[in-house]
Assembly symmetry: none
Homo-oligomer: 201 residues x 4
C-alpha cells in the first residue's frame, strides 16, 4: 500500500513542504509582503513546481488557512460531546483553545490575524463545510446543556463571545508578547471566569 501510494505521497509531501514555507512567510511578513519568490525559496522548490501544486498565491494561502482551521477545530471539537457536563465542557474548550495556540503559534498568528482576508474567496466552499462540521455539534451541545438547566439561556453567538472571546483576547495578547504568565495557569483562571459567566444561577 505504501508502495502504491508512493507517487501520491511524494506529491503530498511537497504540498506540505510548500504550505509550511508559506505559513512561515505569511506569519513573518503578512500575506502581501510574502512573495511567491520568498515562499518558493524557503520551500526549496522551483517556481514552476510551486505553481504546479498551487495555481495561485491565493490558492496557496487558502490551502494553508484551511489546514489551520481543521487543526484548530479538530482540537476544540474534541471538548464537547453529548455526555459531557457543562462545566467540564466549557473549561475544556478554554483549555484546548489555549493549548492549541500554545502549541501552534504560527498557525494561531496566521488564523487570527487573517480572518476573512482577501484570499478567502479561494477557500469559501471548503471553509463553509468545515465550519458547519464544527459549529453544528457545538451548537447542539449548548442547547442540551441549557435544557439540562446547567447554563444560562443565551443565544449561540453570546455563548461564543463569552467563552471563546476571552480565549481569543488572551491569545492575542500572548502572541503579541504582551503577557508573561504561564499559560496553563491562565487557562485555569480564564476557564473559571468563563464558567461563572455562563453557568445557570
Amino acid at each position: 500500500m505504501r508502495t502504491l501510494n508512493s507517487h501520491n505521497s511524494s506529491s503530498e509531501a511537497k504540498r506540505a513542504v510548500i504550505i509550511g514555507a508559506a505559513l512561515e512567510c505569511f506569519v513573518e511578513m503578512g500575506f502581501t509582503q510574502a512573495t511567491m519568490e520568498k515562499i518558493r525559496e524557503r520551500a526549496c522548490v522551483s517556481n514552476g513546481s510551486l505553481y504546479h501544486h498551487f495555481g495561485s498565491k491565493e490558492e496557496l494561502a487558502a490551502a494553508a488557512y484551511i489546514e489551520g482551521v481543521k487543526s484548530y477545530q479538530k482540537r476544540l471539537g474534541g471538548a464537547v460531546s453529548s455526555k459531557v457536563p457543562a462545566e467540564s465542557g466549557v473549561k475544556a474548550l478554554v483549555r484546548r483553545h489555549l493549548n492549541w495556540v500554545h502549541e501552534n503559534k504560527a498557525w494561531a498568528v496566521f488564523l487570527f490575524r487573517t480572518r476573512r482576508a482577501e484570499f478567502m474567496k479561494a477557500a469559501e466552499r471548503n471553509l463553509s463545510e468545515e465550519n458547519a462540521r464544527f459549529f453544528k455539534p457545538l451548537s447542539e451541545w449548548f442547547v442540551e446543556r441549557k435544557e439540562a438547566g446547567e447554563i444560562r439561556d443565551l443565544s449561540f453567538p453570546l455563548y461564543m463571545a463569552l467563552i471563546l472571546g476571552p480565549c481569543q483576547e488572551y491569545s492575542r495578547l500572548w502572541l503579541a508578547g504582551a503577557v508573561n504568565g504561564n499559560m496553563s495557569r491562565a487557562a485555569a483562571e480564564i476557564g473559571e471566569g468563563v464558567w461563572r459567566s455562563v453557568k445557570a444561577d
Copy 2:
C-alpha cells in the same frame, strides 16, 4: 478670524477628507489592496496634493489608525474613574465598547482587523503615548477595585481578556453580519456575564 484660519481650516478639511477616503478604502479592500490611486480618486484630490499632506501610504494609514484609536479609547476611558464601583464600571466598559462599535462600524472594522499591521512603525510613538494614557488609569482602577474586594484578584491581561474579550468577539461576529439580535440587548447580556466572571466571590 475666518480669514486668518481659512488657510489652516481648508488644509485640515482636506486632511480629513483624505483620511475618510483612506478609511473607506482600507475597510473595503484592506491595507495593501487599497492603492494610493484609489484613495486619491475617492478623496477627489490630485496625486501631488495627496503626497503633500501625507508623506507615504504608511503615514496615511497610521494617521487614520490613530484617529480611530483615540476615538475608541476616549469612549472607553470615560467608563472608569476612581469613584466608580466595579459593577457599574465593568458593565459600562462593555456597553461603551459595543456602542462605539455600533456607531463607528468602519473604524471598528479597520482597527480590529489591522492590529499591529505593517504600517504601525509609522504610528509607534504616538500610539504608545495614546495607549499609555488609556491603559494606565484603567489598570489603576482595576487595582483599586481589587483592593476594595469588589473583584477577583487577577492580572491585568486577564481582566482585559475576560472583560473586553467577549466584546471583541461579539463585535467581530456582528461586523461580519453573523448576528442579528439588537445590540443593547446583547450589551446587557454580555455585561452581566462579564461581571459574573470577574466579581469577587
Copy 3:
C-alpha cells in the same frame, strides 16, 4: 494657442513616439513577440511613463491600429465622391491603395497582417465608427454608379472583392518581397483589369 497647448502637445508627442516604436516592433516581430520592454526601450521612455500613456499592451496596439486605419481610409476615401465617374473612381481606388501601401510599408504590414487580432477588443468602438465613416460614402457611390449604368449590378461585398481584392493580394506579394516590378506600372495594369471586371457590359 501654441503655448496653451504646449502641455498637451508634449503629451501628444510622446504618445506619437510610443506608437511609432510600437509599430516598428509589431512589424518586426509580431504582436506577441514585441514585448513592452522592447517598445519602451525603442521609444526611450520609462516603463511607468509607457503605462501612464497606454494602460496596456492591447490598448497600445489598438491605438496604433486605429491610427493606421484612419490614414488608409482617409487616402482611399478621397478617391470617390458624388461627381466622380465610375472608371476614374475605380482606378483611383486602386492607385491610392497601392500608393498608400508603397508609402506606408510598416503600417500596411501591420494592418494587413493583423486584421481582427487579439487586441481588437480594445479598439472595437472606435474602429466601428471609423469603418462606418469610410464604408458608407463608398457604398453610396457604388449605388450611384450602378444606377448611372456605368458598372455591373453587384452586391457591395462583390465590388470590394473585385476591386480591392487584387490590390490586397498584390500588396501582400509586394510586401513579402515576392514581386519586383515598379508599383505605378502595376497600379495601371491592376486598375485596368479591375475596371474591366466591374464595368457595365
Copy 4:
C-alpha cells in the same frame, strides 16, 4: 495485417487528433494564445505524449499548416492542365478556391490569417517544395494561355492578384461573417468578373 499496422495506425491517428485539436485552438485563439496545455487538453493526450509526437509548438503548427496548404493546393491544382482553355481554367480556379474555403472553414481561417507566421521556419523546406509543385504548372499554364492569345499579357504576380485576389478578399469577408449571399452564386459573379479582367481584348 491489422496487427502489423496497429502500432503505426494508432500513432498516425493520434497525430491526426493532435493536429485537429491544434487547428481548432489556433483558429479560436491564434498561434500564441493557443498554449500547448490547451491543445493537449483538447486532444485528450498527456503532455509527454504530445511532445513525443511533435517536438515543439512550432513544429506542430507547421505540420498543421502544411497539411492545410496541401489540401488547398491539391484542390486548386486540379483546375488547370495543359489542355484546359483559359476561361474554364480561370473560372475553375475561382470556383475551387471558394468551394474549398466553404468546405474547410477552419483550415481557411488558419491559412489565410497566418501567412508567413513565426513558426514558418519549421515548415520552410517542406513548404517550398509544396509551393514549387503548385506554382510551376500554374505559371506554365498562364504562359500557354497567353501565347494562345486567350489572356492579356501580364506578369505572374498580376495574374495571381487579379484572379485569386478577389477570391481571397471575398473569402475573408465571408469567414468574418460579413456577407450573407450564397457562395456558388458569388463564385459565378466573381468568376465572370475575374475572367473579364484577364481575358485578351
